[in-house]
């Protein structure tokens, strides 16, 4: 028993150092509501985070893997989702006359990206490509901690050499140079509830929202996982008893 676990754990030791993070420091660990074996998303935070994404991030960053219907998971009703979708315009067609046309988005539509293609995006952003944010939390080492660290990690330039135009100094960016200007500042997005409107709070909310976007299955996954493990433990217990009983007669 112990040996099996020991070997399994030993096998995993070799795993952890599989990637180096450049010269950027490890972002501090945040106390996310979705951490842990039974973590869940804070729906209020997700809704505020969506507001921050919509009013700030979406100017440059797409979220093409998310559909408006997915927003129901944030606690919006069907009617609210329809209304949220209708705020966007999407290209559809061709119609009966062969023309492409614009129409308000429906819940079944994916979020429209801000640029028609990567070339336009680079041209508009000094050569840098703002990545699609659907998977960003899973696509970076340290996930949500890193995104939060990045959003709050803008500091005065520390290096010796001059930063090129359009580059900013960020504590947690690999190489410390980032092409994204500090996106958030205090009081830039008015919240409808009493939540404070600080950069830290915006960063926290929008990171939660992005974590949900990357892993919308997280709550269900953990819920089912607990049941699966409990079932397997019970089953293993029964089998251990059976095995002992059978082997006990082996005198």
């Amino acid at each position: 028993m112990k040996k099996i676990l020991l070997f399994t754990l030993l096998g995993l030791v070799a795993v952890t150092p599989a990637y180096a993070a450049g010269d950027a420091p490890v972002p501090p660990h945040q106390d996310w509501s979705f951490n842990g074996y039974n973590g869940t998303f804070d729906k209020g935070s997700l809704q505020r985070g969506y507001q921050v994404y919509k009013q700030v991030c979406s100017a440059c960053h797409g979220m093409k893997r998310i559909s408006f219907r997915n927003l129901a998971a944030l606690g919006y009703s069907e009617e609210e989702v329809k209304a949220l979708a209708a705020e966007y315009t999407v290209m559809d067609g061709p119609n009966d006359e062969g023309e492409m046309f614009e129409r308000p988005a429906r819940p079944s539509d994916a979020f429209p990206s801000p640029y028609p293609n990567d070339e336009t995006a680079r041209y508009a952003n000094n050569g840098a490509l703002p990545p699609d944010l659907s998977l960003i939390v899973k696509a970076r080492p340290h996930g949500a901690d890193y995104i939060y660290g990045l959003l709050t990690g803008y500091e005065e330039h520390h290096g010796e050499e001059e930063l090129p135009a359009g580059q900013y100094w960020n504590k947690y960016m690999a190489g410390h140079k980032i092409a994204m200007a500090p996106p958030l500042s205090d009081d830039m997005v008015p919240y409808e509830d009493e939540t404070v409107t600080t950069t830290e709070q915006y960063s926290k909310d929008v990171t939660s929202f992005l974590a949900w976007a990357a892993e919308p299955e997280l709550e269900e996954r953990k819920r089912i996982g607990v049941k699966v493990i409990l079932f397997l433990i019970a089953f293993a217990g029964v089998m251990l008893a059976v095995k002992r009983k059978i082997w006990a007669s082996m005198h």
């Binding site: 676990l5 399994t8 096998g11 795993v15 996930g143 299955e217 089953f235």
Partner: protein, 434 residues
């Protein structure tokens, strides 16, 4: 496979089938009354565990294939569709992705057990060699499977590993072109990799069948490494080991699903959630963790090998690395013919035991070095450990053949099981028989 003298079954339907096709007789002979040494410890569970993982991978894999699109423009999106829109698609994919890791964990422990107790020795040489063939096929399948999601690590891992074949003199470039189906890793590569990833598990299944067949000819080895001498040394496979294996499998599954449900991405690389981009190279290209020791051996050869005092290079560093990497597995393949020491089990081979534990440590260090850039201290670590790895097979084992004393072995499994002194002295000896 023949039925020989068949015993009649009471159930008329079973009897009707069995008299025409003796599958029930076969199952009863090979898994019912099959005489199995009674002193197995829990390391003997990992064959059954590996089998369960193979079946898990085939079932989840076929389900994924129903939704996956092997095209460079759609592969990544189709995987995300599985994660987001297919019913329980996230569960199937996470079980498959983590299943690969846990398959390797099971297989590595299984291989270690075979080495520790000398299971590769006469008369089980072919059984062992079939096992190494399975291991090679498994590595090929896992590598190809990692390419299919078409993320950054998929693409660049495929580029780096397929490029290795270009080191082969004369035909290398043609082989690479053949693997790629073109002049770079592109859509034809993805298409053929998908086809092969669907094919190879069934090839593995066939070789596993041969592996188990060979096992049932020679019978299982055991922690003492001495052959059973009669009925007092063995137990029928069912129920003793069917029940014990089921328990072991369940414990293993608990750890496996803990990863699949609670840390599904901890064994993967974040870069593989970035769609493949041939124009952007990741900072560090690393393979999956289970390849890291071999990757470290590959990169440990940083020098050309030539005729001394001339400029003539016989083996470039790249070819040397490739030869070393494949050589490390080839040595496993011929291990039964390298180790000629008459004693099987490391329980009675204290010198071999130390050398083997050092090999395990060297392999772990190689794994750690494989995950780091090949420079500075980690390069020396991988070179030192690679030398030990080859030294173990090519120097230490021949040395032990000649000089390791042959200890007096217990007269039989039954005697050993009853003798407390042997149990107390035996490392990793945990036969539960009283």
């Amino acid at each position: 496979m023949g039925s020989g003298n068949r015993k009649k079954f009471d159930n008329p339907i079973v009897e009707w089938v069995d008299s025409r096709l003796p599958v029930f007789t076969l199952m009863n002979k090979e898994y019912g009354v099959f005489p199995t040494p009674k002193n197995f410890n829990y390391l003997w569970n990992f064959g059954a565990i590996a089998m369960v993982m193979l079946i898990t991978m085939i079932i989840t894999g076929i389900t994924l294939a129903m939704h996956y699109v092997p095209h460079v423009d759609h592969a990544f999106d189709s995987v995300e569709r599985i994660m987001r829109d297919v019913n329980y698609g996230w569960m199937i994919r996470y079980l498959h992705a983590n299943g690969a890791s846990f398959f390797f964990i099971a297989v590595y422990i299984h291989i270690f057990r075979g080495m520790y107790y000398g299971s590769y020795k006469q008369p089980r040489e072919l059984l062992w060699m079939l096992g190494v063939v399975i291991f090679l096929l498994l590595m090929a399948t896992a590598f190809i499977g990692y390419v299919l999601p078409w993320g950054q690590m998929s693409f660049w891992g495929a580029t780096v590993i397929t490029n290795l074949f270009s080191a082969i003199p004369f035909v290398g470039d043609s082989i690479v072109t053949l693997l790629w189906g073109g002049f770079s890793v592109d859509n034809p590569t993805l298409n053929r990799f998908f086809a092969l990833h669907y094919l190879l598990p069934f090839v593995i299944f066939a070789v596993v069948f041969l592996h188990v067949w060979a096992l049932h000819v020679a019978g299982s080895n055991n922690p003492l490494g001495i052959e059973p001498k009669g009925e007092q040394d063995t137990l029928p496979f069912n129920p003793y080991y069917t029940m014990k294996d089921t328990f072991g499998v369940l414990v293993f599954l608990i750890v496996y699903v803990a990863f699949a449900f609670f840390m599904p991405n901890d064994l993967g690389h974040p870069d593989n959630y970035i769609p493949a981009d041939p124009l952007v190279t990741p900072a560090h290209i690393v393979p999956e963790w289970y390849f890291l020791p071999f990757y470290a051996i590959l990169r440990a050869v940083t020098f050309d090998i030539g005729i001394p005092f001339t400029d003539i290079t016989i083996i470039t560093a790249k070819l040397g690395g490739v030869l070393a990497m494949f050589g490390s597995i080839a040595l496993l393949f011929v291990l039964p013919f390298l180790d000629k020491h008459p004693v099987r089990s490391a329980v009675f081979r204290p010198w071999f035991r130390i050398a083997l534990f050092a090999l395990v440590i060297a392999t772990f260090l190689l794994g750690m070095a494989g995950g780091k850039p090949a420079e500075g201290i980690w390069l020396y670590v991988s070179q030192f450990c690679s030398v030990y790895y080859f030294g173990f097979f090519l120097a230490i084992i021949p040395f032990l053949n000649k000089y390791e004393p042959v200890e007096k072995l217990p007269p039989s499994i039954n005697d050993a099981v009853l003798d407390k002194n042997i149990k107390a002295n035996a490392y990793f000896y945990a036969g539960k028989v009283k």
